[in-house]
């Protein structure tokens, strides 16, 4: 029986079991790529640990699918540690994942910049170091909607996480060492910026209530990926006007060189169909070219989501030949697959 409240219509058996039951399904669907370690609540690449290969793990709250479990596989992550919906996993999960994938060449923790994720990963990295595993940590913080200063928690980690996992995964698969893989993630994070907008909130299964109400004709600008309100609310304009805001926010902060080659990532928040995401991509492509920036690679689809939120985010990554080669390298995961 599905569960229905005033604001929630979801396919659930028990709201408290949604994460575990979904992970079970992920493993049932993609048993050729990954396995689900029920006791530790982690998703591990089927052929992990690979001796001599740097391993990559990431994790965070659930509700952002396919992030991160859908990115476990060849050329991307070695393990994912999913927490409860919108809640960081606990250190024991990251530690178990680290131990499960360590092939002797070290493990990189890719962490989205949220206080909970950062704190729990920090405790896990300390425990892993105590057990003699070489761990490096890279915090992703690409969201230009958030002011970065000494007096805030800093920028959130959003779309660049997906790009960093793909690109660094390719580097690790190609035999790069721990320092090189770590540096690759840092380069992606340094050269990527994101901005998100929302046309609705979303409903976490545990509460059954929408996180906020958005009146008709309004848009939330500068949202993250937890159904939270954005930096400000504005009257909803045309798609072209909305994309103007997104492109301007990203480009004015990234400041790519004239003639730069970029990867443009138009991401759906979970409730916006591809019909609209491609419409947005068309606008993005045109506006970037007008600004003298060349989108030579792209990704369009819902890859880092906020449950059923209607909305989209734009991530622009400034590329070089090395990053293009790593982006094009083979990948085989539940959510991304090419070259194999």
């Amino acid at each position: 029986m599905a569960v229905e409240t005033n604001q929630m219509r979801k396919f659930l058996n028990d709201p408290a079991a949604v994460v575990k039951e979904s992970l079970k399904g992920l493993a049932a669907a993609h048993g050729d790529l990954l396995r689900y370690d029920v006791a530790n609540q982690i998703i591990v690449r089927k052929d992990s640990p690979k001796k001599g290969k740097v391993a990559l793990i990431s994790g965070g709250g659930s509700g952002h699918e396919p992030l991160h479990g859908g990115f476990v596989g060849l050329g991307m992550l070695d393990a994912a540690a999913p927490g409860e919906v919108f809640t960081s996993p606990v250190p024991g999960q990251m530690l178990a994942a680290t131990k499960a994938v360590d092939g002797g060449a070290g493990v990189v923790h890719i962490v989205k910049n949220y206080t909970g994720d950062v704190l729990n990963f920090k405790l896990a990295a300390e425990d892993a170091a105590d057990e003699g595993i070489k761990v490096t940590t890279v915090v992703i913080d690409d969201d230009v909607a958030v002011q970065d200063s000494l007096y805030t928690a800093g920028r959130r980690g959003v779309g660049a996480t997906v790009l960093a996992e793909k690109i660094a995964g390719a580097a690790a698969e190609g035999g790069a060492d721990l320092a090189k893989v770590t540096d690759t993630i840092k380069r992606v994070n340094a050269r990527a910026r994101s901005f998100g907008v929302a046309l609705s909130s979303c409903v976490p299964p545990a509460s059954g209530k929408a996180i906020f109400d958005l009146p008709e004709g309004q848009i939330e600008l500068g949202v993250g990926i937890h159904g939270e309100p954005g930096r400000r609310r504005a009257p909803l304009g045309s798609a072209s006007e909305v994309v103007d805001i997104m492109v301007e926010a990203v480009i004015s902060d990234l400041k790519p060189k004239h003639g730069s080659k970029v990867l443009a990532f138009v991401n759906g928040m979970g409730g916006t169909p591809l019909l609209e995401l491609y419409l947005i991509y068309g606008e993005v492509d045109e506006k970037l070219r007008k600004a003298g920036i060349e989108p030579v690679r792209n990704l369009v689809g819902s890859y880092i989501t906020s449950l059923e939120m209607a909305g989209a985010s734009l991530t622009v990554l400034e590329l070089d030949d090395d990053l293009i080669r790593l982006w094009d390298a083979p990948v085989h995961t539940a959510a991304l697959r090419w070259g194999v």
Binding site: G61, V90, I211
Partner: protein, 210 residues
């Protein structure tokens, strides 16, 4: 006070976060992501269970077990923050079988110090520190003045509640609410709210037995 005080404190927290669960979720939904009530309930339910299974550990040890349990069950920011707070507090007591008001104040001071260290938050950032720090300062001062423990704890709980209410007009500078910038103004901080519940629970646990 002894091990029973700590167990009773944890049970009092469990029942008050359970009673206030929806309120905490609502406060968190306004400026965060709406999981604070659910997380605190999950954590303290596990703490009560862990302490129920314990066989005669001294009070400091119970706090360390409680802290470990929070770290391993809560996730989010509150798991590591309250987890390391209780562990640091527990270490202050060592293997002592009993403790007095002044030592309790030192337990809370050590807990606060570890929250501030791990979370890098200061008074006025619109976080749990805004409720925690006034409570610790008040308890220390009243105990030093020779006030009876029950009254000192009541005043500490009032200070936490005042600190909690004082977060309403503040703009968040740490934690998830900081992403909202000016829009965080006008909302009471959920972390400060659960902290005030935790201090009030301590007052109830310590006074019910004296």
């Amino acid at each position: 006070m002894d091990a029973a005080t700590i167990s009773s404190w944890m049970r009092e927290i469990d029942s008050s976060v359970r009673a206030e669960r929806d309120h905490l979720v609502q406060l968190d939904a306004a400026i965060g992501d709406g999981d604070h009530g659910t997380n605190m309930v999950r954590g303290f339910e596990a703490v009560v269970q862990a302490l129920g299974a314990d066989n005669g550990s001294p009070p400091g040890r119970l706090l360390i077990i409680a802290g470990r349990t929070l770290v391993s069950t809560v996730g989010g920011a509150s798991g590591p923050l309250w987890g390391s707070a209780l562990r640091s507090g527990g270490r202050v007591l060592g293997d002592q079988i009993t403790f007095d008001g002044a030592q309790l104040a030192e337990v809370l001071a050590a807990a606060l110090a570890s929250v501030k260290d791990l979370g890098t938050a200061s008074l006025g950032d619109k976080t749990m520190v805004d409720a925690f720090e006034p409570a610790v300062d008040t308890l220390r001062a009243r105990i030093a003045d020779g006030e009876p423990l029950a009254r000192a704890l009541d005043e500490a709980a009032r200070a936490a509640e005042a600190g909690m209410r004082a977060t309403i007009p503040l703009q968040a500078r740490k934690g998830r609410a900081s992403y909202l910038g000016e829009r965080s103004v006008g909302h009471q901080d959920p972390g400060a709210t659960s902290t005030a519940l935790i201090i009030r629970a301590l007052q109830r646990a310590a006074t019910s037995e004296s």
